[in-house]
């Protein structure tokens, strides 16, 4: 299956920001739910073979999501996301920081901004991630993706096979 939905990933080093834009073949309210409800988030947030485990999530300004990326060996890497702004079905922002299992953040973190828009049944999501230091994002790699991360074609095939069967 050829996926012609937009995927754009750029790193602006002078702005210390990563920009990610992606289109989804679904209406806005579904995509919004997928980003803002923990039951759905946990199903896709962690790249296989990692798993996302959300301990709690209060999607409101000042509220937080506390979750772990769990490696296949069961190793947990905790993250706190504190919501700083929410405009329903349009935009939300949070402050992201790694943490220990007792919710103590490891500062500094990064600022994430998500914008949603829909056109002809296709929903576009733009994410920007601002880091005081881009090198800090390297942590995300260091937390284990480097060794364990494999975006195998097998997995993609499996995924597409499931989709076309339905």
């Amino acid at each position: 299956m050829k996926n012609d939905l937009l995927f754009d990933f750029t790193v602006d080093k002078s702005k210390k920001t990563v920009f990610i834009t992606r289109e989804f073949a679904a209406e806005l309210s579904l995509v919004w739910d997928a980003f803002t409800k923990k039951e759905i988030l946990d199903q896709w947030w962690a790249p296989k073979p990692y798993a996302s485990k959300t301990k709690f999530m209060n999607f409101e300004v000042g509220g937080r999501r506390f979750y772990a990326m769990v490696s296949p060996e069961g190793q947990e890497r905790w993250v706190i996301q504190k919501y700083t702004s929410i405009s329903p079905k349009t935009n939300f922002k949070f402050f992201n920081a790694f943490a220990d299992e007792n919710e103590n953040p490891e500062l500094p973190g990064s600022e994430w901004d998500h914008t949603f828009s829909e056109q002809n049944g296709t929903t576009k999501v733009s994410v920007s991630i601002y880091n005081e230091s881009l090198e800090r994002m390297e942590k995300q790699i260091e937390m284990g993706f480097k060794e364990g991360f494999t975006m195998t074609l097998n997995y993609l095939d499996e995924l597409l096979a499931t989709l076309s069967k339905k």
Binding site: A26, L30, P47
Partner: protein, 107 residues
């Protein structure tokens, strides 16, 4: 030598311009400075930071020091960005699958 943040190093526009210049050929600090409306001292400072990040290397030729680019180090940056990009690609491919399931459940 203090450990420098490599991304901080290339965040500066003058340093990026220096990288572009010396990517083509090794140059002396004076020759580099001729390309900028800035002091020789300022260019030297940028070169020092780039050297500390191991993005450039120095080579003595006679009485002159020539600066050239460490291509391998630049590739490291690209490699890192590529890994980060792949994480997002996978994550969103997984979301496609979830959305497709959600759409079916709604019907």
């Amino acid at each position: 030598m203090m450990r420098r943040d490599i991304f901080q190093a290339i965040a500066d526009p003058t340093r990026r311009a220096i990288i572009t210049l010396i990517a083509l050929q090794a140059m002396t600090p004076n020759a580099i400075a001729e390309n900028f409306n800035t002091t020789r001292q300022s260019v030297s400072k940028h070169l020092r930071i780039l050297t500390e990040c191991e993005l450039v290397k120095q080579e003595q030729q006679g009485r002159e020091i020539y600066y050239s680019l460490e291509i391998e180090k630049m590739k490291e940056i690209d490699k890192w960005i590529e890994q980060f990009r792949k994480i997002w690609e996978t994550r969103f491919n997984q979301l496609d699958k979830i959305l497709s399931t959600m759409k079916k459940q709604k019907k």
